[in-house]
């Protein structure tokens, strides 16, 4: 992911031929995760004032599903790393194969989230139930929107990789799409323990 170009000159990366879009996506990502950081801060401040409620609500969440989702995003992230590596080598078939693997594994996150949300809603737990679940639905919901966008990006990259040289101009898009997908993983790495694991179980 490091064919980064700043001030017009390649500063990292062996080829420096494609990837001028990477600093742009990194700027977007750091701004996006900073906004999430503010949400994390708001959650923790609210938790301080309603400790018992937040801890009891947190203990109602399914840690196993959360763990599984973490493993899914990490595995999908690994496949994206391998897709970027293959694209850098100009291997179209391998690039598409890893992008598809990343998409298929990543879809598991969506299925798990659907199961988790429907379970909560079936038990009458909505974002109006209490402040913890308001944060739960907002944080995981906004993260889910990012996840869906990432899945669309993976699908588009897979489609384009079948029609264009993967180590040509498309490489910058593959690299940027990969960085975006890792952001989805990175955010979940914080959201999962903060929502599911902080309180006594």
């Amino acid at each position: 992911m490091t064919e980064l170009v700043l001030k017009g000159a390649p500063v990292a990366g062996a080829s420096g031929k494609a990837g001028a879009s990477a600093p742009g996506i990194l700027t977007f990502i750091i701004a996006d995760v900073a906004v999430f950081g503010v949400l994390f801060l708001a959650f923790m401040l609210e938790r301080s004032g309603q400790l018992a409620l937040f801890d009891s609500s947190s203990s109602a969440l399914d840690v196993q599903l959360g763990l599984l989702n973490t493993l899914i995003l990490m595995t999908s992230g690994l496949f994206v790393v391998l897709a970027v590596h293959a694209a850098r080598q100009g291997q179209s078939v391998a690039t598409r194969r890893w992008l598809l693997a990343s998409f298929v594994v990543g879809a598991g996150f969506g299925i798990n989230k659907a199961i988790e949300y429907s379970d909560k809603l079936t038990h009458g737990i909505t974002m109006l139930s209490n402040d913890f679940f308001m944060f739960y639905y907002v944080l995981t919901g906004v993260h889910f929107v990012h996840f869906v966008a990432g899945m669309i990006v993976l699908a588009v990259l897979w489609f384009r990789a079948g029609r264009e040289e993967v180590n040509g101009p498309l490489f910058g898009w593959i690299e940027s799409g990969g960085l975006y997908w890792h952001m989805v993983d990175l955010l979940w790495i914080v959201i999962f323990p903060m929502l599911y694991l902080l309180g006594p179980r």
């Binding site: 992911m1 490091t2 980064l4 700043l6 500063v11 990292a12 990366g13 062996a14 600093p23 990194l26 750091i30 995760v33 900073a34 950081g37 994390f40 801060l41 923790m44 401040l45 938790r47 301080s48 400790l51 801890d55 840690v63 763990l67 973490t70 493993l71 990490m74 595995t75 992230g77 690994l78 994206v80 790393v81 391998l82 590596h85 850098r88 960085l179 890792h182 993983d185 990175l186 790495i189 914080v190 999962f192 323990p193 903060m194 599911y196 694991l197 902080l198 309180g199 006594p200 179980r201």
Partner: protein, 92 residues
Amino acid sequence: MNHVSPRQAVGVWLFLVTATLCSGWLAEHHGFAGRWTAVAVMFVAALKGRAVILYFMELKVAPRAWRIAFEVWMWLCAGLIVALWASSSGVA
């Protein structure tokens, strides 16, 4: 610059999986680390985030400013969460 090789990436993935399972186990067995469980869990989360930033996002070979920005974000998030957790539930 050396990009992350597939072998390195798989190694990082193994670390991420192991760390995730360990922190999940710690959280489910609260008696093991007691009140320090939350600190341990968030510390492991920060290490995992750092691994994703440096190796999956390959910022270890990117311009230093990007690496610093993301690492600061990661440790700031984990630090704030632990600090506010400690000030409310307390470690003592």
